[in-house]
Every structure is written in C-alpha cells, then in structure tokens.
C-alpha cells in the first residue's frame, strides 16, 4: 500500500532538464479553484432585486457565513467575509471531492493543509497589523505581561501547526481507512465510512474557518489601544 505521507508526481511539465513535477493534488486544487471562481462569476453576473433560485442560494450562503462570524466572534463580518468564507468553501469542496471516483482530496496530502495553515498564519499577522498597527500588533504579544512574550510567539506558530495537522490527519485518516476497507471488501462496505467522511469533512472545514476567525479577531482585539486600564491607573 502506498504511504499516505508521500506524494507522487502525476506528470512533468517543461523541458527535459527543468521538468517541474505536477502532483495530482495540485491538479485537483486548480480544478476546485476554477469551479469556485467560475461559479461565483456566473452567479454574480446578473444580480437582481428579486433573486432567482441560484441567487437566493448564494445569498443564503453569504448570509450564513456572516451570521456565523457574528455569532462566533461578535465582530462585524465585512472585513473577514471574503477570506473566511473562501477558506470554508474551498476546504469543504476539497474534502467532499473524494466522492468523485479516482479523486484524492487535496487536503489528504500534506502540502495543501500546510499551505492553508501558512495562509492563516500570515493573515493573522495581516489583520492584526491592519487592526492595531505594527506597534499594537507587537504589543499584543506582551499580554497579559511581558514574561509571556516567548510563550505567545511559540503559541502563534504551534496553533497554525496544529491546524495543519488537524486538517491533514482527519481527512487523510478518512481516505486511508476507506482505502484499507476497500481493499478488503470493495462492494458497498465502504459506503457508511464514506458518509462518515462527509460529516468529518464538513465539520473540519467549519472548524478550520472558525479557528482562523477566532485567531484573527483575537489578534485584532489585542492590538486595539486599551483605554480602560490606562484611565484606571491615572
């Protein structure tokens, strides 16, 4: 059985000496990106006041994302809607792409979850700096007191790493179990496991989005100038 921790190139691109290996997960990722971008472009091309059925579905989706952001963090959803919503939709479709026969979800290989976690790590810095400036963002590391600076810096790395391992481990273990069961009894037996995989995939996509949202808002909140304690001291 192939190791789930390795990936093998699907084909090579470019001249003989500089051939770039293209992994299957990259092809699936680009296909999902094309589906998302084309779908969004087609849906928003003719927006009307009285929505059609497709537009109503899209509005319901955006409204749900907004409501979840508001419920989970209490922040206004507008600055984060695009990033978190896209993250959720991409991971959801990537996890569910295992339904298509012959497609391994890109989140079941190591690179895609690592890249997503790296994007979240960078976006925490981006939103933190945008919310409180460079000084405010850096001051957030010294909370609640300066002794915590090394621990806070370590935590900002380990939480991204744990997001990576969580997404990768969950999706990969689902695919791996289905592969093992399928090699023992391929007819109808893996179907309950596939249903469980759908649930896991949806929950993991939700959790990835919620956790990135929580980390971003905590960085923004910490970076805000604190007026209340200063007035208390003076």
């Amino acid at each position: 059985m192939d190791s789930p921790l390795e990936t093998f190139p699907l084909f090579m691109v470019g001249p003989e000496s500089f051939a770039v290996p293209i992994m299957a997960s990259v092809v699936v990722t680009w296909a999902i990106m094309a589906v998302l971008v084309l779908g969004a472009a087609l849906l928003t091309r003719r927006l009307t006041m009285v929505p059609s059925r497709a537009q109503a579905t899209a509005e319901l989706l955006v409204g749900t994302v907004d409501q979840q952001i508001r419920d989970v963090t209490g922040a206004a959803p507008a600055p984060y809607r695009a990033f978190v919503g896209t993250l959720f939709l991409f991971i959801l479709i990537a996890n569910w792409s295992s339904l298509i026969p012959g497609v391994t979800p890109p989140t079941a290989t190591m690179e895609t979850p690592a890249a997503l976690a790296a994007i979240v790590f960078l976006s925490i810095i981006f939103f933190g700096i945008r919310g409180g400036g460079v000084g405010g963002f850096l001051r957030g590391f010294a909370l609640p007191n300066p002794v915590m600076i090394p621990l806070n810096m370590l935590e900002s790395i380990t939480r991204s790493f744990s997001m990576f391992v969580r997404l990768f481990g969950n999706v990969m273990s689902g695919v791996f179990v289905i592969a093992i069961v399928g090699s023992l009894a391929a007819l109808l037996v893996p179907i309950p496991l596939m249903v469980l995989d759908l649930l896991t995939g949806a929950v993991q996509a939700y959790i990835f989005a919620v956790l990135s949202m929580v980390f971003i808002t905590s960085a923004v909140e910490k970076g805000k100038p604190q007026t209340a304690p200063e007035t208390k001291e003076s």
């Binding site: 989970v72 391992v165 969580r166 481990g169 939700y206 959790i207």
Partner: protein, 81 residues
C-alpha cells in the same frame, strides 16, 4: 524480520491504542456535559452544540496526532533500513 521493524510496528499500535484512550474519555465527558447543559437550557442548544462540535474536534486532534505518529513510524521511519 529486522528488530527495528518489529519495534516500530508494536510502537505504532501502542501509540494509536493508548492515544485513543484519553480523547475517548474526554469526548465522553464533553458530550455528557453538553447534554446536561442542553437539558437545563434548551433555548441555548444552538450555541452549545456549535461550541461542542469545535471542542470535540480539538479533543479529537490529540488522537489524530497519535495516528500521524503511528503512520510516521510505519511509513517514514528514519531508523528503518
């Protein structure tokens, strides 16, 4: 069979089995507490179940870590010839 292979396979099995114990107990306690809370306050069921799902996934991560370690031992063991 090499000595390293036998030890790796045993350790992989031990990692998964003992790594599953703690999260299983913890998830049981978390679900029980959430059920209790929903029974007391049915109107807060939405918030509680959402928080429960996030918490369960975070607890489950420890078991997933053990699984990754086991797979590393089996498939990417640096000691294995």
């Amino acid at each position: 069979m090499d000595y390293v292979n036998i030890v790796s396979i045993f350790c992989a099995a031990f990692a998964v089995s003992f790594g599953a114990l703690g999260p299983a107990l913890a998830e049981g306690r978390a679900v029980a507490a959430a059920m209790d809370a929903i029974a007391r306050q049915p109107e807060a069921a939405n918030t509680i179940s959402r928080t429960l799902f996030v918490g369960l996934a975070m607890i489950e991560t420890t078991a997933i870590y053990c699984l990754v370690i086991a797979l590393l031992l089996l498939f990417a063991n640096p000691m294995m010839p």
